[in-house]
Symmetry: C2
Subunit: 210 residues, 2 copies
């Protein structure tokens, strides 16, 4: 507890930066959840994070840029919490159905978590009505996820587990589209049993013709 | 052209009401497309429709109620324009794939029409972040459509065209979820060829096991 111990010296600049970055992301996600995208401002984020406005502007040029990074960070943390690897590739145990159920169950868990659900809804809603913002978020957040699915399905096709004539982009949409539709419009419960049934129904149509 | 001809008398009250109702619906859909749900007001709708605010309040208790009726009217008109019958049942020609392609192509045409796309996006966006409003619109607009699909699939199952073990609610989601996902997030083109491929991919998994 001696004040002279080097390890107890004031945090260095990089540690302070990391703390500020974390506070800014948390504030941005909380605000967009509570008030929606339109009413979230750089000023509001700064006040809630306890940093100066200029700190945010030093790192990000716009509200959209801060939120984009906050969502990327949220997705990365959610993925780590679920035991995923850093690059978010879908696991390949050799059992396609089991691997897809693992990922869709994890997605269901995320969507049932208010810390993930609320900001993601706010973001989706804004992207739906703002084509420019929607395109940025689709490209940065959604497309990489869809490509992970395509790569896993390509591996399955190479092994002969998927019909060579199947359109893999449509195959991915058969997996994520129904889940997303049910989540956004609240047309049914999001459960692990639903994730499993969805994978089974979608994969049946993708299996090689025998 | 004689002013004394009875048929040329001033429109009666019911015709005047119908004209006002039409103007109010058009104004409501235009405003929600241009400014979003939150900024659309009864006052704004009245001003644009050229009617008094009290005319709207005489028929509808709230903004949500006017918009709900405006969307139901829009959907009914879109359906009529596409040659559908009044109750919007999915046609049953005995060829399930052909009937579903017919309906999904029509949906693609609607979503590519700005007069339908813009207000529907505004509505979807608001429903996503407002659970109470979302539930009202899902119940009044979306669920009836999903039930039409379920009924058509039930008829196909009764004929032996669909596996008896298939979950028909998930089957419907396999058809509408991917299309909706692609539309909302603009992840790919919405074409008739896409509608056809989607039906083919979804139906393959629903066919009876042979």
């Amino acid at each position: 507890m001696s004040a002279s111990r080097p390890a107890k010296a004031a945090p260095d600049a990089s540690r302070r930066s990391e703390r500020s970055r974390r506070a800014i992301f948390d504030a941005a996600l909380a605000l967009v959840s509570e008030t929606g995208y339109a009413k979230t401002t750089i000023e509001g984020i700064a006040a809630r994070a306890g940093v100066g406005k200029q700190t945010i502007y030093r790192w990000w040029p716009s509200k959209a840029a801060v939120l984009l990074d906050a969502f990327l960070d949220l997705a990365a943390r959610a993925n780590e919490a679920l035991g995923g690897d850093a690059d978010s590739e879908i696991p390949d145990t050799g059992d396609l159905a089991a691997d897809l159920k693992h990922v869709l169950r994890a997605t269901v868990d995320e969507l049932n978590d208010p810390a993930f659900d609320a900001p993601t809804r706010a973001l989706a809603a804004e992207g739906i009505v703002d084509p420019e913002l929607g395109a940025r978020f689709t490209e940065a957040l959604l497309e990489p996820q869809l490509r992970y699915y395509v790569r896993r399905l390509e591996a399955a096709r190479a092994k002969g587990d998927i019909d060579p004539d199947a359109d893999l982009r449509i195959a991915v949409e058969l997996l994520v589209g129904p889940l997303h539709h049910r989540w956004l419009h609240r047309t049914g419960p999001l459960t692990h049993a639903y994730a499993d049934a969805l994978v089974d129904h979608a994969l049946r149509g993708l299996a090689p013709r025998t």
